[in-house]
Amino acid sequence: MVSDEVLRELSDFIHHEARLCDESRYAEWEALWTDDGHYWVPRAADHDPEKQVSHINDNRRRIHTRVHQLLTGTRHSQVPPSPMRRVISGIVVEDIEGDDYLVGANFMLLELAVQSTHDLHLWGGRTTYRLRREGNRLLMALKKVVLVNADEPVPNLSFLI
């Protein structure tokens, strides 16, 4: 669907975004978003977010609020930030719509809940990204994360997933 060069560019973006999440580099992460960005963690892949409640369903304004809250230094559920590392695999371009690439990938994430229990949490699922070419760079218009256990009881999700 795309050239090797474009696929490389898209996967580099995705790995960079993942690293900013892993390292809780909030402001740099926020700068990856388009003005209409949508950060979405539904309870099932096919849910209508206007009818079913989601874990996270941030419009661009709420993405800013989320980052602002994390940057206060008193978001206790992420003080200190969870040490994290994630593995992303199987990156595929699923569709192209104008300047947007819809890209899918699976992930596994280790998150250490260092704020309280020191439990090591294993998260996993599939992420869909809408990556948009604006000028000479890519930005993120959608990050939809469907957890394998999205509709099960999960621990705090206040880090960047």
Binding site: H55, N57, S77, T117
Partner: protein
Amino acid sequence: MRIEHAPPVDYDRLIKKDRIHSALYTDPAIFDEEMEKIFHHGWVFVGHDSEIPNPGDYVTRQVGYEPVIMSRAKTGKVHVIRNRCAHRGNKICTLDAGNEKVFACPYHGWVFDLDGKLLDTPQPDGYGPDFDKSANGMAPAAQVEVYRGFVFASLNHSGITLDQHLGRAKELLDRCCDLSPEGELDLTAGWLKHRFKANWKMLPENDCDGYHVDTTHSSFMTATDSQAIDLIQGKSDPVVRDWGNGHIEIDFAVAYRQRGNPFEWFGRMSPAKLPNYIAAMEARYGKEKAHHLFCSGPPHAIIFPNLFIGELNVVFYYPISANECVQLYTPMLLKGAPEVNKRAIHQTEGAVGPGSFLIPEDVIIAERNQAGLAARPEWLDLSRGLHREYQEDGLTVSHMSDETVNRAFYKRYKEMMQRNLQAAA
């Protein structure tokens, strides 16, 4: 429940007027007794009838240690039955929700009606003439009652009616339903489920604790323009109120009404965004009563022991062990109010749930609290506001930061735990 022959716990020693002992949060034997006396022999919130609108609809739930099914029979009646085959104990339904004509066990094929009655046993000649089908159903809860859509059950007989259990706190549920132009709620947007490692009682304590907000949630106050800021920082006068039987409330509405602005509780929503809702409410209630409802909003209250109404969020919890709990959240949708409901879903996402802006802090604090309980001295202070409580309309009321509500919760808790179930039976 484990089979134990430990000496009975003396709750008079553990629960004082101004303090409680940390064993209440950590001792597995006390947890067992809570499950038996509060969750298996007392009224608990199970679900809402809007979750199962059609015959055959069901949801699965946990009440204490027991998995249950809340189902709607062909008659339209709501039932709460054990999720367990009467034959060998197989769990019948494993999904969160579904629709079935009957409940069929996948092990030997026993078939049960939607109300739990045994309908059929394959190869029935294997059971003799004394086999009593009526005694081999999926055992129903001893008491099931619905109040304005809220389904409550007591698995074994509680000794009191739901009306007696709710008492004056019915008013709190009325305040939710009355916000709908049709007088009814829809809890149909699904449940967010949140697991954490703290004792279940930390939740009701925290939910009606007006003292923690300024510190625990300071990051939220900084990052958002919350209507709560003025109230919490003492520029107005919310109160806490003991409704009796362990039902407790932070009454923000007192302060909202003093200020006279509609929808402060709804993130200070502009009335211009809700024209159809306002018209429908005024048509039902008249202008004056509608304005009163718009100013007051829903309550912020606990219905003992496991239901929390927090503005437009409905919350309940499953204890897992002395050290672990699951909390579930759904937006309170108002029938006939689509303008409110689409915003309510997004407010729930912002306020409660594992990824929200508020509850993750409460959870981390609860987990740290659980860890801290291991340290001595072993008492937790509950004395705040004892000197300034007062009576109003027959109920105990105090400043919103006072532990009047926690004391009220533990008063009911102690009554429940000191019951002698064998004598009652």
